[in-house]
Symmetry: C2
Subunit: 330 residues, 2 copies
Amino acid sequence: MAHGAGGKASRRLVEGLFAPLLFGDSAEPLGDAALLSINGAPVAITTDSFVVKPLSFPGGSIGELAVNGTLNDLAVSGARAEALVVTYVLEAGLPVGILEAEVRAMARAARAAGVRIAGGDTKVVEHGKADRMYITTTGIGRPLRGVTIAPRSVQPGDKILLSGPIGDHGITILLARGELDIEAELRSDTRSVFPLVEAMVSAAGPGIRWMRDPTRGGVATSLNELARDCGHGIVLLEELIPVRDAVRGACELLGLDPLHIANEGQFLAVVSADYADAALNALNLATGGEQAQIIGEVREQPAGSVLVTTRYGGSRIVDMLVGDPLPRIC
Amino acid sequence: MAHGAGGKASRRLVEGLFAPLLFGDSAEPLGDAALLSINGAPVAITTDSFVVKPLSFPGGSIGELAVNGTLNDLAVSGARAEALVVTYVLEAGLPVGILEAEVRAMARAARAAGVRIAGGDTKVVEHGKADRMYITTTGIGRPLRGVTIAPRSVQPGDKILLSGPIGDHGITILLARGELDIEAELRSDTRSVFPLVEAMVSAAGPGIRWMRDPTRGGVATSLNELARDCGHGIVLLEELIPVRDAVRGACELLGLDPLHIANEGQFLAVVSADYADAALNALNLATGGEQAQIIGEVREQPAGSVLVTTRYGGSRIVDMLVGDPLPRIC
């Protein structure tokens, strides 16, 4: 299960098996979307399978997540989604009402984002060979002008921005399974982050060096990947990282770090120091970006690692997610 | 299960649920790929999930099928594949050797076709929540010049071309499951048909009106969909349809019609009468197209249906596939 959790085991699987065989000897760091040239036009493409359990949860459901998750991978790659295609793997016996609800959720999310669903495919497997339904979405889009995402351009002195509170999605899913005797007023943060990205790019495009949506593996895993790819250190000030009380409380009870918990409606950005305030202002003024924060900065040390410091001067190295405390989160 | 078989129930599901909700009120007939414009450049896109059982079979395996199946959907839409993206849904406990074999099969098929694999995603579900692995591939490509696929342009007098013998894939899968006490020297026909399509387009592009790869539901289902979309009748001469003895024998034993059996390396084309010989010659001269045939023609009657005639003057209407005699064929 850990190989699907988005942390260290996932990274080993991708870097040890998939990438060398499938992507050849490309030396580019792996991003959220691939950039291609079709007939001379730049095109961004990204794909994800969704196996979230349960299918619906406070704040969202698999259909909505499958649309917004893919839109977000394009957004943090600096691309505006133009179209989605979708496949369903359905378990025989799935009530048609459940399928219809998720198809409607997809249509609604796509319409809200102004993105066309251009095609799809459906397969049915025997009862017991899937868990109700799995959805795969692929998004294609066109790169926004005025922004280039490149982890290797990240420099000491750059600021780390976070769009809002972390951990809402992962903890909501965990509680929605009903296996723990914990209740909390919490909803998944699932949404399209493209409007926020677009606002930030308009205001601070030339200063944006890197973006990522910290889904599986959370903020800690995304920033560890960045630290490794850019070779610098990432230093976060813990008190600046927005975490709701309900998330913090559940994490304390369960021995989890909010920095490892999945998000579905937040993104991280590295912005040069001279553009950081403009980027933050743009986010804070946009709907849904009111709680965006500068949470830290890039330094020379600890090279390749993520260090979290507290207001009392304590500090700890935070690694990628190891193992899988929360399987099937998206 | 019938809803996944590609026949009547699948069509009802797509036309009754997916299309109205997801594709809006587009009046275009559903094709194998969608044509989009990104930054002014025409781009074709198609997506498919693969759930074939068993994972490997004489002539191919799920990884190879997932690449070639998607390349073929682009090919019969008149597009050259430029890149693929891929997702895996893996069952926890899957031996890594099996995964590696399928990743290698994908890489090999993509390399053979000269197509880049640009990205991907992996999810892991608990043991018992998938059947070893499901693969989803999405292909994007650029439309070939000089050919337009449009079922509504099909006219009485046009000829129906078939690239080679039918039923090899479906019967191979059926026998590979080992549930029947039948043995036969048979291999799946899985391959990329793009080289054949390209040769035919070069020789007869202006005369080509429609193409389709008759996968789930077979030749009968593809031609019934065409008959419905164009409003004319499709008349086939049974003796001209190439079927290997092993396929014919298995179908007779099992009460199946080869016209309903899935193919993975064949395609159908409708070509205007004045270009039909040029198209057939081009196929027959290309490697792997030696057994291509003109198998029938478009007539005014029976409008909206497919009629098969025998050399003795008998005839029968052949409907779309109903039910699912061969689940999880691709």
